[in-house]
């Protein structure tokens, strides 16, 4: 570990050995933050936010739908970003991160599609329409499936890492298409709910509820990914001494408790 000799550096945590305990320490905090934010967000969503003037109570699905849709796109970009970092800098941890992100991204993608269908039935009169936003989101789900299937199908971890990284980067083309689909094709799906450049078009409590839920989704993602990364690191590094030490320590702690 040469970097730590020269004082504290964040890059130190690029080493799986240093990242493993850090992930273990951080994950519970993010999990707690996710729980608190979800409770606050749902309280705002169901008890504080007013009934929508146009859509009535149905609109309340956006408190889950919009954060899930944001996360599904964002996670794919982060996945592609980690993949690019891994390919360029040859850091093993980056590939592990992108593989740990994929299931959560796929889950948010599915949640966005499912809640969208539940909202679409009473509002549009159909669970599904072949609208540009909906279809591109469905393609995003397939891209997640392709990435997960490819990385699981290849047994050699080095090849799996690199092949997955390449397909993640190629697939990232789709994300801007989803994001701009409501602008490029004038379709059924409504425009962006929140804009950075315009004043919010919804009640402030609605906006607050949605943003709190979005932060809850972020915290949840961080917690789950950090937890998922830990066994992946152990599996990859199982031949090293430090993993043996960690496992012996954990077994001892287990024995002491029991």
């Amino acid at each position: 570990m040469t970097t730590s000799d020269r004082g504290f550096s964040l890059f130190r945590f690029a080493a799986p050995q240093a990242f493993y305990p850090l992930a273990g320490r951080l994950a519970p905090w993010f999990a707690a933050a996710a729980a608190v934010l979800t409770v606050v967000g749902l309280w705002l969503a169901f008890f504080v936010a007013p009934t929508d003037a146009v859509q009535g109570e149905v609109y309340r699905v956006i408190f889950i739908h919009v954060p899930a849709a944001w996360m599904s796109m964002f996670i794919y970009l982060v996945m592609a970003g980690w993949s690019a970092v891994g390919l360029v800098m040859n850091t093993r941890l980056s590939f592990i991160m992108s593989q740990a992100l994929a299931p959560t991204g796929a889950m948010f993608c599915f949640v966005a599609l499912w809640t969208g269908a539940l909202w679409g039935r009473p509002t549009w009169g159909a669970y599904w329409v072949w609208d540009a936003r909906l279809t591109s989101q469905l393609l995003l789900l397939f891209l997640y499936f392709g990435f997960i299937a490819l990385t699981r199908a290849i047994e050699d971890p080095r090849r799996a890492d690199r092949a997955g990284a390449l397909i993640a980067i190629v697939g990232a083309v789709n994300v801007p298409v989803i994001y701009f689909s409501v602008k490029w094709w004038n379709t059924l799906h409504q425009g962006a709910s929140v804009s950075l450049t315009k004043a919010p078009s919804m009640a402030s409590t609605m906006l607050a509820g949605m943003l709190v839920m979005a932060f809850a989704a972020w915290a949840y993602t961080l917690a789950v990914v950090l937890w998922r990364v830990r066994p992946m690191i152990l599996e990859r590094e199982r031949h090293t001494e430090w993993v043996g030490a960690v496992l012996a320590q954990e077994a001892a702690a287990e024995g002491g408790r029991g």
Binding site: T135, L139, L150, R162, I167, I169, V177
Partner: protein
Amino acid sequence: MLSAFVAVLRRDLLLAWRGRADVLVTLAFFVIVVCLFPFGVGAEPNLLRAIAPGVLWVAALLACLLSLHRLFAQDHADGTLEQLLLSSEPAVLWVTAKVLAFWLSTGLPVVVVAPALALLLDLEQGALSILVLSLALGTPILALLGAVGAALTLGLRGGGMLLALLVLPLFVPVLIFGAGAVEAELSGTGAAAHLLLLGGGLAGALALAPLACAAALRISSE
């Protein structure tokens, strides 16, 4: 450098010619899939005319997908691919030559046969040239994108299904604009916008896909 390109192109075309049966199977598959639709949805001419662009495009896409695994499999099995990767020629060059040979042997026949099949589906004569043009611009994109997937799934168990899962989402935009071009022509709005988008897509894929494909081949044969 150009001689390497020509040599690989000649070799792959020669191999395709010697193994004509494979190429003909792809073409037969295309014809049969298109002919299944009148049996499946009923032989009502108005209906067939309406779905003809989509049916022809989906069939062409599936034919391409089914033949994609052949692109590198043979060379991978007999070691040619390793030799090519070890050679001093830039990989992007011979990858492009291989994809071009692949398109000439499987994509081009589909483009040539498509108008005859379009007549079976009662597509308007005026739209035939747009159909051919859209396929001629679109199928090379399919071959280029598919080559990346074929390179990544090289030598994997169940590689064929995995290849479909990987590349089908990427094929969808090509399908939308390809079939959309013919439909736009039929509805009188003109196919220019769709064809220009396909042309732009082809230029982009031609510039980027061989790079990704060469990288994928390196990953797969380490």
